[in-house]
């Protein structure tokens, strides 16, 4: 099943009683429990940029638009969508929002939940829901956007997403730190908030990791070093962004804290592909409230049945 448009999808969902496996680019389908579904629902026809006004720093795209395409479209305007998720850029925007995948930049640039301004989806009753809007601030009505974000398609099939964009920083440098982890703690508490901070290796994790949104890559640390092409003494990978004076000052502070070297920014592509902390939908919190939510939006249980481990 590959619907041509929202109407067709809505008609289908309002009638069918069969379980459906929703597929974006299909790059990360095994992240949940096995899905017991009669049909595969492919969303490939929901691709493409629908509206982009660069001066407003917002964009509206079909759910099947890939992260790579989003980047291609926004880059010439000096902008980016901070949804730089784990994995590579061949995944779709719809799936990234549906799974609320947050990559290594989430702490500074925003998690998917902070970046989705609105979305269109079709729920398990076939209702076409237009949640939120295209403006950067909006409290009209109850927040269905948040509800759908991270629901793994279990409440609705996302067809279109309105996103907030950000300006690419004027200066953008990547540094590898070999020093003492406590020194980095001091840095993170200082005035220069990095775009991303990645703790490499299984060293005793510092307070920074939890409190500052830094990401720890503990397990299999050696192979991470090898895959990123870093020598084993590398402890932290930092991305510094902002205006040039700012970044220069940050680098100066880093150099005072310990041994560090600049690195090619392309390493972040490798980081995103190889360092993802284990995340999946297998440990779902099925509180009574959560069950009520599921019942309201997909009473027949046709959307991704079994993915979140719910009992039939």
């Amino acid at each position: 099943m590959a619907p041509n448009d929202t109407r067709e999808l809505a008609d289908f969902l309002s009638e069918t009683t069969d379980g459906l496996r929703i597929v974006g680019a299909g790059r990360w389908l095994d992240a949940g429990n096995p899905v017991r579904a009669m049909h595969t629902l492919r969303l490939e026809r929901f691709a493409g940029v629908r509206q982009y006004v660069p001066e407003d720093l917002t964009i509206s795209v079909g759910a099947a638009t890939t992260l790579a395409e989003l980047d291609n479209v926004t880059r010439p305007h000096g902008q980016w969508c901070p949804l730089l998720s784990w994995g590579d850029d061949s995944g779709t925007v719809g799936a990234t929002i549906a799974t609320a995948t947050a990559g290594p930049f989430a702490a500074s640039l925003g998690r998917p939940r902070d970046l989705v301004l609105g979305l269109e989806c079709v729920d398990g009753l076939g209702r076409v829901i237009n949640a939120g809007g295209q403006v950067v601030k909006n409290v009209a009505g109850f927040d269905l956007t948040r509800l759908m974000t991270g629901a793994w398609g279990s409440l609705g099939v996302i067809t279109r997403v309105h996103l907030r964009l950000r300006a690419r920083p004027a200066a953008d440098e990547t540094w590898v730190l070999h020093g003492d982890p406590a020194a980095l703690d001091a840095f993170l508490r200082g005035p220069h908030a990095p775009l991303a901070a990645l703790q490499l290796g299984s060293a005793a994790s510092t307070a920074s990791v939890a409190s500052f949104g830094a990401v720890a890559v503990a397990a299999g640390a050696d192979s991470v070093h090898r895959r990123l092409g870093l020598d084993p003494s590398a402890r932290w990978l930092l991305r510094l962004g902002g205006n040039a004076a700012d970044v220069n000052a940050a680098v100066k502070q880093l150099q005072q804290l310990g041994d560090c070297t600049q690195h090619d920014a392309n390493i972040w592509t490798l980081v995103r592909e190889h360092c993802a902390p284990p995340a999946s939908a297998t440990q779902w919190d099925w509180s009574p409230l959560a069950r009520r939510v599921k019942h309201q939006f997909d009473p027949r249980g046709i959307l991704n049945p079994g993915l979140l481990g719910e009992r039939a």
């Binding site: 295209q134 909006n138 009209a140 509800l147 991270g150 004027a170 509180s287 309201q296």
Partner: protein, 472 residues
């Protein structure tokens, strides 16, 4: 039932007398008045839950209330039990290292910032009402404020919440980061319709290393709007970017809150930049250049705290200053894409002229969040009608421009009439479905946010007065 409530919270904390209830007939939007059947003021979380259970037993509707500073008529308890939460004001924990605080709902926004200031921290969402409004009200409204342009609204700062559902069940909501629906995200901004906030864990933000505040002065309103769009489009992210038009400047400068704004300006932009000291001057130079290129006549730069506070005072007290102009004030709260601001302001001016009302604009320009204010006299029926007509026209224009009807004040009662212009019937129905999850009996703040007839199986909430009588 009233006797039971008295037993739970103490006799002095239950109010029945109409004259005493008068104080709770409206919130900060005095155009709406609704009389509560009864007001109850619990002193603790346990009492709050006990009150809710007692009300649930008789199926009685209720409305939570914080400080009553809401600007959408959201905290009005028409024939319901008003549940005042201002006594729940304990600060349960401050963790400076982890940069979080856990507080009860009645804690006043500005109090929290004052308490954490010694640690070099603050609570970032800063509604202009911050010296009075409560954290519970902020969560219920997903409140914003001038500094939300850079730092985000309430939603972006709440990590966890304990809430009592309308039947008295207590649940903890979190963001779903570790596998679960984002029930916290759904709750925030639900305007008291999903349950009562009992405590919240909030993210605290480090104070910036350096701050520069600029006041750019324009001889044309449209130029100020264009400058706003130019600054944001250039990739500068100010901490705040606020616009005040001539009518607002005039009101402020003739009040006790006079901030020294140029009296003859058509508009001023109040721009705050913050961050690491090193890059800030260069950033300010860039903003100055962008303002001048858009037609700014002059720019003032405040770097010392006293001058900065003075510039901000005029902005934060602008609503109060308008009190001088007329006895009543309506405040609109629409959002449009930033690139549409200049056009919209022109249309608003034309609407004002046509309807013969005085519109004062003071708003969060960086977010495209308009606040056209109309001072008026509620005793003049002709003027009231013209004010309403102007408001409706402004809303319609904002929706047509791809905007929304509320950016931070909520729907409440005031914006109900526009919900159907903004959302399709299935979307409104889906909102009702979400409400059903938390409040299947629809006893929490009944009749607000989603128009009653938009929900297929909606039934009107029972009258608290009638229910109360039958069971006392």
């Amino acid at each position: 039932m009233i006797a039971d409530l008295r037993r739970i919270v103490g006799a002095a904390q239950v109010i029945e007398r109409p004259s005493a209830l008068l104080a709770y007939e409206s919130d900060a939007l005095p155009g709406y008045r609704r009389r509560p059947a009864l007001a109850v003021f619990p002193g603790s979380r346990e009492e709050t839950v006990a009150v809710l259970r007692r009300l649930a037993a008789d199926g009685i509707p209720f409305v939570a209330r914080g400080a009553g500073t809401g600007l959408s008529g959201g905290a009005l308890a028409d024939d319901c039990v008003l549940l005042g939460l201002h006594r729940l004001k304990r600060v349960l924990e401050i963790d400076p290292a982890g940069r979080t605080a856990t507080v009860e709902p009645g804690v006043v926004n500005a109090t929290l910032t004052r308490l954490v200031a010694p640690h070099g921290l603050h609570y970032a969402p800063d509604p202009s009402s911050q010296s009075a409004c409560t954290i519970g009200g902020n969560v219920a409204e997903n409140a914003g404020g001038p500094h939300c342009l850079k730092y985000g609204v309430t939603m972006n700062h709440v990590l966890r919440a304990t809430v009592a559902l309308p039947d008295g069940e207590v649940v903890t909501l979190d963001r779903g980061d570790t596998g679960g629906y984002d029930l916290l995200g759904a709750f925030i901004g639900s305007e008291g319709c999903f349950g009562v906030v009992l405590d919240v864990t909030l993210r605290l933000t480090p104070n910036p290393a350096a701050i520069i505040t600029l006041l750019a002065d324009f001889t044309r309103l449209g130029d100020a709007a264009a400058a706003t769009s130019a600054i944001v489009a250039a990739g500068v992210l100010p901490a705040a970017l606020e616009l005040m038009d001539h009518a607002t400047i005039d009101a402020v400068e003739r009040s006790i809150y006079a901030a020294g704004y140029p009296a003859d300006a058509a508009a001023v932009l109040l721009i705050e930049l913050d961050g690491a000291a090193e890059g800030l001057d260069g950033e300010a130079d860039r903003v100055e250049a962008l303002c001048r290129a858009s037609g700014a006549r002059g720019i003032r730069r405040a770097t010392d705290p006293a001058e900065r506070a003075r510039l901000w005072q005029g902005r934060k007290k602008a609503f109060g200053a308008m009190g001088r102009v007329s006895p009543h004030l309506v405040v609109q709260d629409a959002v449009v894409p930033r690139t549409q601001l200049a056009a919209l302001l022109e249309e608003i001016a034309a609407i004002g002229e046509r309807q013969r009302v005085r519109v004062c604009n003071v708003f969060h320009a960086g977010d495209g969040n308009l606040h056209p204010n109309i001072p008026y006299d509620a005793d003049d029926p002709d003027e009231v009608a013209r004010v309403h007509a102007a408001m409706r026209e402004i809303m319609e224009r904002c929706i047509a421009a791809g905007g929304t009807i509320t950016g931070e004040h909520g729907v409440g009662l005031d914006k109900l009439p526009y919900m159907e212009a903004l959302f399709t019937p299935p979307t409104l129905e889906a909102m009702c479905s979400l409400r059903e999850v938390f409040d299947p009996e629809r006893r929490a703040n009944p009749g607000k946010v989603v128009p009653v007839h938009a929900c297929k199986e909606w039934h009107a909430a029972p009258s608290a007065r009638a229910a109360g009588r039958t069971s006392t």
